[in-house]
């Protein structure tokens, strides 16, 4: 089926406003990941969802960041009271755990967030 999709593709917001980013994983993929990529940098892990297990939130940089996932489908990443340092591309990925080691993650095109 289709790949991972993300919306919006671009988001410009003012400092202090809340933003919500959406990710639609590949159908049937039980694992979903959020990463952040600052300009010229590699990806930073933010959060991981796997089925009905408690999410791994260890990468969230502050309590202004939160994410939810409904079952094994759509996920939203919410950033409250945005700051200029939140400007980055936010990438979502999904995978189908096959056991026995690291699973291939399939990435969406990302949402470019600019905080003015």
């Amino acid at each position: 089926g289709a790949g991972v999709s993300q919306s919006p593709s671009n988001k410009v917001t003012e400092k202090g406003k809340d933003v919500e980013l959406r990710c639609d994983p590949i159908s049937g993929h039980t694992a979903l990941y959020w990463y952040r990529q600052r300009l010229g940098q590699g990806l930073e892990f933010l959060i991981y969802f796997q089925g009905n297990s408690a999410p791994d939130k260890s990468g969230l940089p502050s309590d202004r960041f939160s994410a939810e996932r409904t079952g094994e489908s759509v996920s939203t990443l919410t950033i409250q009271r945005t700051q200029q340092e939140d400007s980055a591309v936010y990438l979502c990925a999904s995978s189908q755990p096959g056991g026995g080691g690291t699973d291939t993650q399939y990435f969406g095109p990302g949402t470019r967030l600019t905080v003015l």
């Binding site: 991972v4 590699g42 990806l43 892990f45 791994d56 990925a93 080691g101 291939t104 990435f107 990302g110």
Partner: protein, 112 residues
């Protein structure tokens, strides 16, 4: 924290030439992955090599892994303009099977 680091930061070659990128990492890993990111696009998984493998091929790609030196290399043979992209190595973070850490990447430019 960042685990892998790619070298060089940027590489410019002519179409048809081979391109070699290197990745060094700090702690023991059970696998290493390479990804490609075109300008304005998401990442695409290229290849995964496990710690018990020394070399792996996929089309024009050849990946090596030297666990004693904690390094990996990605070789792209007979490069094409469409290979122009940033290439990242990714390693498991903290022994996790799902948390990946990425380096800053190598920007490869293939000139027609």
């Amino acid at each position: 924290s960042q685990q892998g680091e790619e070298d060089p930061q940027a590489l410019s070659i002519q179409e048809g030439e081979n391109a070699t990128m290197n990745c060094s990492y700090k702690t023991s890993i059970n696998n290493l992955q390479w990804y490609r990111q075109n300008s304005g696009r998401g990442l695409v998984h290229l290849i995964l090599i496990r710690s018990n493998e020394r070399e792996k091929h996929s089309g024009r790609l050849r990946v090596t892994l030297d666990t004693s030196k904690k390094s990996s290399s990605l070789l792209i043979t007979a490069s094409r303009a469409a290979d122009t992209a940033s290439y990242f190595c990714a390693t498991p973070l903290g022994g996790s099977n799902y948390k990946l850490t990425f380096g800053k990447g190598t920007l490869l430019t293939v000139n027609p």
